[in-house]
Symmetry: C2
Subunit: 214 residues, 2 copies
């Protein structure tokens, strides 16, 4: 029995939704609205489930897990169909490094709570906030583009979908949302386009979620 | 043949130094000074090795790897002595989640380049910078403390050293450096103290490195 606590626009939840879909797993999805009521993630019952007050959280029977990459590695070990990490340790390391380039070096800086701190506590302007978002996306994508030139085939690492692609696609979604020009990143664009041809990726997109708002 | 590009105060490099020591591996350490010459990580030859211009980078024969957690998982697969991840997928996931709680939710926000952006581009004051650092450390540690209450023995998860401890100790080092009061976090303090009893941890500390400055 799998339950995913999710928010349509959370790119970390988006990663897990892709993994579930690729592996053909059904999970009950419980939306946690990150803005409504001052943020439902900050209130009970969710706070008790995940004291970091972030999404996603996955429950599998008695196990409660946070952190999208830990969740995906767990799903990959327990449901080995459509593996998301190569068997060879060196190639697996390259995949994990690309995933972490996004999950550690780009995503955390543009997370909702950070943007809220910038505006509420530091009083930065809307323009400064946009500059901040674009700065970290551009800096991260510039490095990623160079790495993908060495590793990519149809996907981030060769021609198999891996954990790296599950991180890339939600991050590109964010970049487009924040009007980052992708012209300097042809490798990133190419992989993104290939991934979106797969229903597991396109169906996991924010706008396809039951809790999506327009 | 192992080569580690490192900086004494980088907590990501510190994690890898602990892993190497626990596994009894000798690596040639090449210091990359993050402040001198405008940051040696931003210049050749290092920039070609790691386009993200961050430390650490590990070279193992022909393989060049970035991202401390990917490096440690790789070392753990190739050098299985003193394993850093439990075999059971559920326990391994708990370990990885704790490691990522630090590596994704705390560390990236207080990284040098982010602090430089806050002061240089946004013009925040020294006090605002300190508040920022302490805010993310406290928020992260509060969540971590609750998780460790459920998982910790002598170490973060039971009585074996894992990847989670390799992330915790450098983060506590940073917290002490930035004068965060650890009184509210007895579990974190207990694990930190246990880890420092092991020479692999104490010898990997920033002040013990050849490139340390006082």
């Amino acid at each position: 029995m799998l339950t995913l606590y999710t928010y349509w626009r959370s790119s970390a939840a988006y990663r897990v939704r892709i993994a579930l879909a690729l592996k053909g797993l059904d999970a009950t999805q419980i939306p946690v609205h990150l803005l409504k009521d001052g943020g439902q993630q900050r209130a009970e019952p969710y706070k008790a489930l995940n004291p970091a007050q972030l999404v996603p959280t996955l429950q599998h029977d008695a196990l409660t897990l946070n952190q999208s990459l830990a969740i995906i590695e767990y799903l990959d070990a327990v449901y080995p169909q459509q593996p998301l990490l190569p068997k060879d340790p060196a190639t697996a390391a390259v995949v994990r490094a690309l995933a972490l380039d996004i999950a550690c070096d780009i995503h955390p800086l543009n997370n909702l709570r950070v943007l809220q701190y910038l505006t509420s506590t530091l009083g930065v302007s809307e323009q400064q906030k946009t500059d901040w978002i674009q700065h970290w996306l551009r800096q991260g994508f510039a490095a990623l583009e160079q790495r993908l030139a060495l590793t990519a085939g149809q996907y981030c690492v060769g021609d198999q979908v891996t954990l790296a692609d599950l991180c890339l696609v939600p991050q590109v979604y964010n970049a487009l949302r924040f009007a980052v020009d992708l012209t300097p990143y042809p490798q990133i664009q190419k992989v993104y386009q290939h991934c979106l041809l797969l229903p597991a990726f396109s169906n996991a997109a924010p706008e396809q979620q039951p809790d999506a708002q327009n």
